[in-house]
């Protein structure tokens, strides 16, 4: 396979990877360089079509610094992060900066577009749901005990402050990685006109096509036991996508689900009911001009459950789904 192929790694989020070391590694490729690093619990890479090693390092450093900055600022676990401070504000008004405000604004619009199904205050539901492939679904009582702590409508925020009711928590996990991809692309474009691809654990974007208008080749890795929706049984190989322009984001994870009485519960939770979405595809990969659009389209589609593909078709979105 061509060296420029960027493997999209399924983000099996290993909690065991503690804040991994912040190291960049640079490797020469047939037509450029690849810079790899770890961030946001995922393997990350920057591909660049150039012979200029110094330039490649410059772009790699700018991108990794930006990704780590966003991780530090919006991580739930980092005690110095804005997110941690908000979540531990005990109902007090907390000062926020413009970037945080813009992200909250984006989250609010997603909340409204999804009629409340997507809610960045829903992370707390993971206290009762453990998607380990077992049949241990949460009890109605358990769900009812945490559900009152979910609800974007109870949060008030202004351009420079936020008030989060006691007990509630925000989780930027659903948008942070895609946001970091888009920020990285903007930075890379400021530095160079040469083609760059930024891949953060499978969510990726390009600054444009490769030289001579050729596409980047991106593999959507096949997940064991799933197949791309094609009725073609022999097909368990990766699907190679030629990406000319824009971003690809994948939502869903075959390893994080529950099965009980033959029903499959996806790890995607309906923020209104606190229950998993049923009959959703195992994963959806979407194409959009920017990664945060692609990621949100994939997430909104999963939230439609059985109607995921129909939703994307109606929205005239290019996508690949696995069931």
């Amino acid at each position: 396979m061509n060296e420029t192929i960027s493997k999209v790694i399924n983000n099996t989020i290993k909690k065991t990877i503690k804040s991994s070391q912040r190291i960049l590694s640079v490797k020469a490729q047939e037509q450029g360089y690849v810079i790899t690093f770890d961030a946001m619990a995922s393997p990350c890479e920057v591909l660049m079509q150039t012979n200029d090693l110094a330039l490649a390092k410059l772009v790699g450093r700018a991108v990794s610094d930006e990704v780590w900055r966003i991780e530090d600022k919006f991580s739930r676990y980092n005690k110095n992060s804005v997110c941690y401070q908000i979540n531990h504000s005990s109902g007090q008004n907390i000062a926020i900066d413009e970037e945080c405000y813009l992200l909250l604004n984006f989250a609010e619009q997603c909340y409204q577009l999804s009629d409340g199904l997507f809610d960045i205050s829903a992370g707390i539901l993971n206290q009762v749901w453990h998607f380990d492939g077992s049949a241990n679904i949460a009890s109605a009582k358990q769900v009812a005990s945490v559900l009152p702590l979910v609800g974007w409508e109870n949060i008030s925020y202004q351009p420079n402050s936020i008030t989060l009711p006691q007990g509630m928590a925000l989780d930027f996990g659903g948008i942070g990685k895609e946001y970091a991809v888009d920020r990285s692309i903007l930075l890379a474009k400021q530095i160079t006109k040469l083609p760059v691809l930024v891949n953060l654990g499978g969510d990726l974007a390009v600054t444009g096509p490769r030289l001579n208008g050729l596409p980047w080749q991106v593999a959507i890795e096949s997940i064991e036991g799933t197949k791309l929706n094609n009725d073609n049984n022999k097909d368990d190989k990766d699907t190679i996508i030629a990406l000319y322009q824009g971003a690809l984001a994948t939502s869903g994870d075959s390893k994080r689900f529950l099965v009980k009485d033959g029903r499959r519960y996806s790890h995607v939770l309906n923020a209104l009911t606190g229950w998993p979405i049923e009959q959703a595809p195992k994963s959806i990969t979407t194409l959009a001009p920017q990664c945060i659009q692609a990621g949100m389209l994939a997430t909104l589609a999963l939230l439609q459950g059985e109607g995921a593909e129909q939703f994307l078709t109606e929205q005239e979105v290019t996508y690949w789904s696995r069931r």
Binding site: D115, L117, A140, D231, I241, A247, T273, I292, M296
Partner: protein
Amino acid sequence: MIYPDNKNSKQHSQSNQHSQLKKANVKMALSMAAGALLGTGVMVNDAKAEVLKDWQFDSAFLFYSEGERVTAAEVIVSGNKTFANDEILNLKLTIDSLTGASANGAVVQAQAQTFTRPSGEGQYVTPAGETPLDDTFKDTRVQLNAQWTQPLAENYTGSIGGHFSKEFDYLSLGVNGNLAVDFYKKNSTISLGLSHFQDTFTPMGGIPKPYASMPIGDSNSASWDEDLAKTRIGSSDKKVTSDVLLGFTQVINRRMITQFNYSYSMVRGYLTDPFKIVSVLDQQGTAQDYIYENRPNERNKQSTFAQAKYHFDQNLLNSVLDISYRYMWDDWQIKSHTLDSTLYMPLSSRFGKQSYLQPHIRYYQQSAAKFYRPYTFAEQENKTTPDENYISADYRIGAMDAVTLGVKYGFSLNNGNDFSVRLEYYRQMPNNAGFDEPSELSSLTVYPVVQAVIFQLSYSFL
């Protein structure tokens, strides 16, 4: 305290309403939200990706039946391999098998007619009032095409190909080359194509002598082989075809694309159909003789073609209308008009399976070649010299109208695999281009309608 069930049921009624309202604009709203977040403008359509077709296969089975006439079955398997730098290799295998009866050119009579088979071995009899059909028509053709396409430089794409086709009595070899140049940000493409074919025809029973009378007699008699040999001028002959195609494609906007072609085709060599004869009638219209047809040994054909595809928006169900028109003319004085149209109508999708319905309508009109005669008259034939005069009663180069009506149903899966079924009805209506009809033929069908049914199954997979 809010109970999950309460909340759930409330949500359901709400979301159904809302999703109806918001159906059309989620993508746009997200683009605007992302633009505000990232400080970029609103980016809606700045994305392009496709599944890289490693090996993509198209397969099709086609069945064509003219009822009591020709029946054809065809299998096509085509493979496309895309390489790392956008080089594409296409290999295509076509096998078709034809059986049945085809019109031999002789005109219908009020009495039974007897003809010699093209091989010279044996005879067949056409009942009174029926169009004479030669029922020995049977052939299997194997065709192989290979095409290599690659970018030559930015905006330049080159392609070369080879063609091999073999039938029992026919061999065709061909090469082609094509150059396409994109400009105006790839919204316009000019292409130039050249092709060259060399065909060898070795018909059963040899090449008949033009204007010679078809010998009709006992093929077991002692003198038969000698009589037959007198009407033959060889065992095989050749034909050379050279084509030039000039094309222009223009993207008008996001929804519309147009294409214009001009082609010039030169054919040299043996263009006569060795199996076709012409009835020689007396004044009343009774066949006195059957002579072998004769066509010019060159033909220069030109055609112009215009096509427009329009992709409608949601108000018209995202359907795609395809309309094309072709005008063809040649120095045999055949002129033809073809109007073709399909409407691709997506149906609702489920689990990523997108289905569609595609009606098809085609209208074709053709004028007769200058040497076409449905029959000739005895006294007329005595005056002609074969070297200067050509004659054919093959209805396929006579005046006609034809209509095709069809529908295709298909469903494509979101990764590009595609299955379709096509059913079409074809009706060919030859007509009299102003030839006098002798009294004996007036109650007979000189220009019979040909009807055919076409059924096709196609499957494309990665």
